[in-house]
């Protein structure tokens, strides 16, 4: 793939991630039914439930992984791609991509959490866990941002203006 193609693909992936971000957070990702009580949980709803149960540290981990990291990734990638071809903030943009690579995959915690809960939540009326459409948007957003981070290599930040425009 050419460098220009990489930039265009990364932009498309980030745009896809931005589109998926709102439904991923507004739609429920799972329904937990335990002994007659039914809870439809969004990503932030799950965090609030953990917090209200007195598990603030766990809630903080899930909040950081499921809400802060994806948002930071989308904003950071948008910033890096908007500045593509310009000479400003190059070192900072390179460092930002490095940090994104380190923390980016942690946003998968929520999807894995759902898979573990679905596995044990097959006890009929006593306990059941169902996935909801929000998880598809959430997973798509994660895929888009992970792929964008892989497609847009740090060396592209340092291309000369004319090469970047080509």
């Amino acid at each position: 793939m050419t460098d220009a193609g990489r930039v265009e693909l990364a932009r498309a992936l980030v745009a896809g991630g931005l589109v998926c971000y709102a439904p991923a957070n507004l739609l429920p990702v799972m329904t937990i039914a335990m002994t007659g009580e039914v809870d439809r949980l969004t990503v932030l709803g799950g965090v609030r439930e953990l917090y209200e149960s007195g598990l603030a540290p766990v809630a903080a981990v899930v909040f950081a992984a499921s809400f802060v990291v994806p948002l930071a990734k989308l904003l950071c990638l948008s910033w890096v791609l908007l500045l593509h071809g310009s000479a400003g903030w190059r070192r900072e943009r390179t460092a930002a991509l490095r940090v994104l690579k380190l923390i980016g995959s942690w946003s998968m915690v929520d999807v894995f959490l759902l898979s573990v809960l679905v596995a044990v939540g097959q006890l009929g009326a006593l306990a059941s866990v169902r996935s909801e459409p929000g998880v598809c948007f959430f997973a798509a957003m994660l895929l888009f941002t992970l792929a964008a981070g892989e497609v847009y290599e740090p060396r592209l930040i340092w291309q000369r203006r004319e090469a970047a425009a080509a």
């Binding site: 390179t94 998968m108 992970l146 290599e153």
Partner: protein
């Protein structure tokens, strides 16, 4: 000296060079003028000898250009990858935990969650979990095992460069450490609702996460995407 696939020698030290995906070989560190350049920003860098464990960092962009691996990098990676492959098999074959509520219980393997998601019609999410929690870790371990085995033995193993490219391509999708954390969070959540009992599988998942994490650190791809010594 003739170079073997995926192997390079500098100052008598083996270098584990894993080229980034989509590229035939490692990024060019030498410019046409014979000077060493940073593969990320192209800055000219002073050449200097590195002791094992030292790294050469670009002053302009902050990327790590070269890291002296030392003699033991390839054997260490090979040992970790071998352990990881065995542990992967154990983690997949043994239950992680059992959840019990009102006398009824349900066990959880890595794959039961995937099967559950697929049964509920969420195929894309099931495929994503399957790939990142099961397939990518074993592909990454197998590819690293092959490349580091070739480097450790000093033999000419066919397809080592292809295996190195595969290792680099799947590394970002190998998310066992994240899966291990998710298991911990799930247990905390489930304990609010019923009784949870850990099984051996949890230990193997944790061990697999440790192997994957250690390999990721050893084959750290800062900068251009190179884990190499020098």
């Amino acid at each position: 000296m003739r170079r073997r696939a995926g192997q390079n020698f500098r100052h008598g030290q083996p270098m584990l060079a894993i080229p980034p995906p989509g590229r035939a070989g490692p990024p060019r560190l030498m410019g046409a003028d014979g000077k060493q350049r940073c593969p990320v920003c192209g800055a000219v860098m002073a050449r200097r000898e590195l002791r094992p464990g030292q790294e050469l960092r670009c002053r302009r962009c902050g990327s790590t250009v070269r890291r002296a691996a030392g003699e033991l990098l390839a054997p260490l990676c090979w040992a970790l990858a071998t352990t990881g492959l065995i542990v992967w098999g154990l983690a997949v074959c043994t239950p992680i935990l059992t959840f019990e509520i009102a006398g009824r219980e349900q066990s959880n393997w890595i794959w039961t969650g995937i099967a559950g998601l697929a049964a509920q019609g969420y195929w894309p999410v099931a495929v994503l979990v399957f790939f990142s929690a099961m397939a990518a870790p074993v592909l990454h371990l197998a590819a690293v095992w092959y490349v580091s085995g070739a480097l450790s033995s000093g033999g000419r193993w066919p397809g080592a460069e292809r295996a190195a490219r595969l290792a680099r391509a799947v590394a970002p999708w190998s998310l066992t450490p994240v899966f291990a954390v998710a298991c911990g969070v799930a247990v905390v959540k489930l304990e609010m609702l019923g009784r949870v009992e850990w099984h051996q599988g949890a230990f193997w998942v944790l061990a697999l996460a440790a192997c994957s994490f250690a390999l990721a650190r050893l084959l750290d791809d800062r900068g251009p995407g190179e884990a190499r010594g020098g």
